[in-house]
């Protein structure tokens, strides 16, 4: 059976050729990926990134933007590699969410 991401060769809508500006967070995700995959660190391979993107469910794959999928895949790879623990990620996310509303949650 065809996997959801493997949509090459299927009929599709018209291709948008316009360039667009990237958000700061998108550029940061790109930079994070470059730093993690640098040969002297080797904390993430592009093939691992792709596997984690392609393993997203169809609904999540379609709902997420390009760099949201990268962010998801970077997180998954760092968990799988043992670089970050689930608890570290959970605490950091809570800390950041707390900052958005001045800590009054």
């Amino acid at each position: 059976m065809r996997r959801h991401h493997d949509m090459g060769g299927l009929p599709a809508a018209r291709c948008e050729r316009d360039e667009h500006d990237y958000e700061l967070w998108e550029k940061r995700v790109d930079a994070l990926m470059m730093l993690l995959s640098a040969r002297d660190r080797d904390l993430l391979r592009v093939d691992e990134l792709r596997r984690n993107i392609e393993d997203l469910g169809a609904k999540a794959y379609d709902a997420m933007g390009y760099y949201e999928r990268w962010m998801h895949a970077i997180t998954q790879t760092l968990i799988q590699r043992g670089v970050l623990t689930i608890d570290e990620i959970g605490r950091k996310l809570a800390e950041i969410e707390g900052q958005d509303d001045g800590g009054k949650r």
Binding site: M1, R2, R3, D6, G8, G9, L10, R45, D47, E48, R50, R51, E54, D55, Q80, R81
Partner: protein, 99 residues
């Protein structure tokens, strides 16, 4: 060719069929060309197998990578473009068999 690489089994001009398989994980052989017959256009070199690299394994021995040429009408039976139109896809050796 890297020292730890499989030997190329196909020659330029040879007809090959892409294996029909649906393994899990990161697979770079597009779904739409599986089961179809094409012609070896060139050997591109040998590369660690990305299906294994995707699980942080070495992916060795490296697999020869070929550029395979397909007639568009072979891939899409209802294709209405030019009769000479082709698609070229880079495919690792372990996905190919003699046609």
């Amino acid at each position: 060719m890297a020292a730890n690489a499989e030997s190329p089994r196909f020659a330029v001009g040879e007809r090959v069929r892409v294996r029909r398989a649906d393994p899990p994980g990161h697979v770079r052989t597009p779904w739409y060309c599986r089961g179809h017959v094409g012609t070896i256009e060139r050997l591109c070199g040998a590369f660690a197998n990305p299906e294994e690299l995707a699980y942080n394994r070495p992916g060795l021995p490296a697999q020869p990578l070929y550029r395979v040429r397909f007639r568009s009408a072979e891939l899409w039976p209802d294709y209405r473009g030019g009769a000479g139109d082709v698609v070229e896809i880079e495919i690792l050796q372990h996905w190919l068999e003699k046609a």
